[in-house]
Symmetry: C2
Subunit: 226 residues, 2 copies
């Protein structure tokens, strides 16, 4: 039985790769770079996007909000006057715990790709499966909250390994939690030696300028020869 | 394609139900009550167990630790001198984001069921899929950290709906985060009107006595006629 389950999963991942490449072609034709932004629930992805995007004129950004249910995050971004599209994963049964390439593919007709240069896909809050499913992105980043603890890179290594950028959020809480930043960054380095990181607080605004600059640089970096 | 995926999932859930009932029979024969403890990554499940179990003599408790990789949490509990069994979900591919009945079934030979009255299963940190897979438990509980935000019951309703008990942890952080407890509890009530809750801080110890008493009462409540 376990063997069958693994084969189903491998088939699903193969199919996902094919559709992810099709998405990539669509994005390339439109000249749109794509960020897949992931994290655990409640790490602050949406707040960090609110903070960064309200003062970002160029590149032109659109957001695809992935959630199991509801449109709370999309509603929060509505005031930014940028295109925001909601994608829910709960059709059919209890709800998918991640976005896959086919779900993003189904949303492409709703994305005005000609109107944007950078698509930010806010994935479902989950440190496991989103890392396994490519969606046609140029770059993957994750947000880690200091409230989650310094051991998380070792407990969720695939997620930390899959991301080029680890944004460490809620650093305003550092005096109030047991979180050793040096040990956390050593844990990130242990599973993903090349990863960049930024230290930010969406609440106080510390580090948000650097985060905004990193987002703004995605299209240029994606266009540069590897 | 989406239809196929849903059918695969429904078949998997049917098979899971069958195995969960077999687990239940095994636990009943041994007179063991089972708690399925769930949460997002970093909400503090392990620390709350450390705090509660070090001063709990009766009932006799064993812990089954579910993690994608590693044994960090099991190692932390090793000092408690209670039986702790590690169950990793990463065999085969990137790692399952939840425990299912079959994984728990595979661990039963390693659990000294005759030596314990209460088995606490610490599920993989994830607010989506663990809620969909019964494992043969008597009761489901979840831990929510105030750092995660007050909107989470509305974003992950299946998880909040599946649990009889919501333990709100890290209340020592309340002065430092934007978290309206009344609104959070109203959100819990909106998706799960009958749910109990406890307010605790694993860091300061506030509410830990009530949490320990709730854990200790599981076998008696499970034995009471419905």
């Amino acid at each position: 039985m376990h063997r069958t389950k693994i084969r189903v999963t491998e088939d699903a991942l193969d199919a996902n790769e094919t559709i992810a490449r099709a998405n990539r072609d669509d994005f390339d034709r439109a000249g749109v770079s794509v960020l897949n932004l992931m994290s655990a629930p409640g790490s602050g992805k949406t707040t960090l996007l609110e903070r960064a995007l309200k003062d970002l004129d160029s590149p032109r950004v659109g957001v695809l909000e992935g959630d199991v249910q509801g449109s709370l995050d999309a509603d929060r971004l509505a005031g930014l006057h940028i295109p925001v599209t909601q994608l829910n994963t709960d059709s059919g049964f209890g709800g998918e715990c991640h976005l896959d390439a086919n779900m993003v593919h189904s949303a492409i007709p709703d994305l005005d790709l000609d109107e944007i240069d950078l698509l930010i896909v806010e994935n479902v809050g989950n440190l496991v499966c989103p890392a396994e499913f490519r969606i046609g992105e140029d770059v993957k980043a994750m947000v880690a909250s200091v409230a989650e603890g310094e051991d998380k890179p070792l407990k969720y290594p695939l997620m930390y390994r899959s991301c080029e950028m680890v944004v460490v959020n809620k650093i305003d809480l550092l005096p109030h939690v047991d979180f050793d930043m040096d040990r956390f960054l050593a844990n990130v380095d242990a599973v993903n030696p090349g990863a960049e990181h930024l230290l930010v607080s969406a609440r106080t605004g510390e580090g948000v300028d650097e985060w905004r600059a990193w987002l703004a640089g995605i299209p240029e970096r994606a266009a540069a020869p590897a």
